[in-house]
Amino acid sequence: MHQGRIEEKFKKNNVIYNRKQMSQEEILAELAKAVIDGDVDKAKYLAHKVLELKIDPYKAIMDGCAAGMRIVGEKYQNGEMFIPELLYSAEAMYAATDVLSPHIKAEKIPYSGKVVIGVVEGDIHDIGKNILVTLLKASGFEVVDLGRDVPTKDFVQKAKDEKAEIIAMSTLMTTTAPGMKKVIDVLYEEGIRDKVKTIIGGAAVSKEFAKAIGADAYGEEVVDGVEMVKNLMSSIKRGG
């Protein structure tokens, strides 16, 4: 967007919010709303406002950006929001987190778990995976996104390097679905199958397929994927 237009919007927002003298809760609620509405400029403005008012940036990400994105996920699941709206919400979330993240002290971030994610080798359809990445980040997980057409060994190597608890894989094609089993086989070969849980998703696979290849979980829809990751992380923490 043109710099002049951004400044104009900032001034407009400033007038509105300075007049209101908003509380911290109100700012965070507005931030969540900006994410839900997919309003990138407003989200960015509010993120700056958070810093100006010395509100904890981590709290702003979790109670503002992530809270908004979780509602977006629910609305998408319920057929109240669709891909265009969801993508703009994601842009708004990233616009605000880009402003806030550099101001967070690393020790303040509680560790929720790390997921290595990608589309398996031979497949390049990645929109479902990309949505899941956004929703997982909104749920507080660290996500290492390997992209699409990811070679089998890369999933395992990255999980080892990053000490990730979960590998998440997706595919839209049955011709590339066997690649998921190959990743699980390599985890066994490397002797780390008990340390890394696996979750699969995508139009070509199912709960039945997940069971057949020995995956730990299956998400039928994107939002299910978030729940499955949460469940797997909980079971890991319980020692399962």
Partner: protein, 352 residues
């Protein structure tokens, strides 16, 4: 002996055939019957047609579908396509090599003649061969990917979905050109004598676009293709394998003779509800589950799964047993045969 075409016509006109017609939508999987690799099958129309005929003779299914892959239509405009040796061909747009690299590029799309265009002319040829070789016995349905889907294969669904909010007129301009070409593509398929054409309207589903967005960006354009198909006395059949398809929207725009689908419509709760709500409005084609049963299952599991569907959808006719999407290209062909056997065993008419 009842021919597949008689069986399908009876189902489409709500008369009792001898049994439920069964069409496992064997397309790319047919290459394994003929003994060629996927990349060869995807690019040689004569081999593709011979493969389909060989698969029909082996498996005994009741209809051909001329779906090669979803990059046939974008290839006509110049989109680069990848041809893996043993997997479905893919648009390179998903790997970053998009024909429409920026919003300005929508304006650069040009009309192409489907009869001369790369890949489209091959599918027209497949239609011709199948109609000539088997037209009196086995119905052949043409296949056209809708304008929104086609455009997304040159831009990606993500970028197209963002563009349509902020650059609406550019997207609509691109869609108009694409639709003009698809219109003539459907017409050319009809001219081969196919009794129907399948329009793939994937974006009319709750996981992709809203009804309003769908109406504006595909419904009003693509319905002209449906009208053209009908002008040729061919049937309009819709395909939508997305989650929660908008049957009401699809019926309203296209007035289809039949809908092929994977998931229950967004306003239905299960198979029975779908039959109750839509079974008299349009013939239902489906709904054997590829990821859950057809791909990972045994022939016995496939038969049980199909028996459940026949029990719900079969009574009153107006039903063709089929997979919810193309038969998985690498699934056991015995599972395609199991669908026919399920129709023979559980799908006899008259049915209670």
């Amino acid at each position: 002996m009842v021919k597949p075409i008689e069986r399908v016509v009876a189902a489409l006109t709500y008369k009792d055939p001898d049994r439920v017609p069964a069409a496992p939508l064997v397309c790319g999987a047919s290459r394994r019957v003929y003994g060629v690799t996927y990349d060869v099958w995807s690019r040689d129309p004569v081999i593709a047609a011979k493969s389909l005929i060989a698969a029909q003779e082996l498996i005994g299914f009741d209809g051909f579908l001329t779906l090669v892959d979803l990059s046939v239509e974008p290839a006509a405009f110049g989109q680069k396509v990848l041809y893996p040796v043993e997997s479905t061909a893919l648009s390179a747009a998903f790997k970053g090599d998009m024909l429409i690299k920026s919003v300005d590029d929508y304006d650069k799309l040009e009309y192409v003649d489907p009869k001369k265009a790369d890949r489209m002319r091959d599918v027209i040829k497949i239609c011709e061969i199948l109609v000539q070789a088997k037209g009196k016995e086995v119905p052949t349905l043409g296949f056209v990917y809708g304008p929104a889907g086609t455009l997304s294969m040159m831009r990606t669904l993500e970028k197209l979905s963002l563009d349509l909010v902020k650059n609406k007129s550019a997207v609509l301009k691109g869609l108009k050109i694409v639709n003009d070409v698809l219109f003539d593509y459907a017409k050319a398929q009809c001219e081969t004598g196919v009794p129907g054409v399948v329009l793939d309207v994937l974006y009319a589903s709750k996981m992709i676009w809203s009804r309003k967005t769908y109406d504006e960006f595909e419904g009003q354009l693509c319905s002209k293709i449906a009208d053209e198909i009908r002008k040729h006395n061919a049937l309009v059949v819709l395909h939508n394998c997305g989650h929660g398809p908008f049957f009401d929207t699809m019926i309203s725009w296209y007035k289809p003779a039949a809908i092929s689908f994977h998931y229950v419509p967004d306003d239905c709760k299960d198979y029975a509800d779908t039959k109750e709500k839509y079974g008299k409005k349009t013939v239902l084609i489906g709904q054997a589950d590829n990821p859950k049963v057809i791909y990972p299952g045994t022939p016995e599991e496939v038969m049980n799964h199909c028996a459940e569907q026949i029990k719900v959808y079969g009574p009153g006719s107006g039903f063709i047993l089929a997979t919810g999407c193309e038969f998985p290209p690498n699934a056991s062909l015995l599972n395609a045969r199991a669908m026919i056997e399920a129709a023979e065993k559980y799908g006899k008419y008259p049915m209670a």
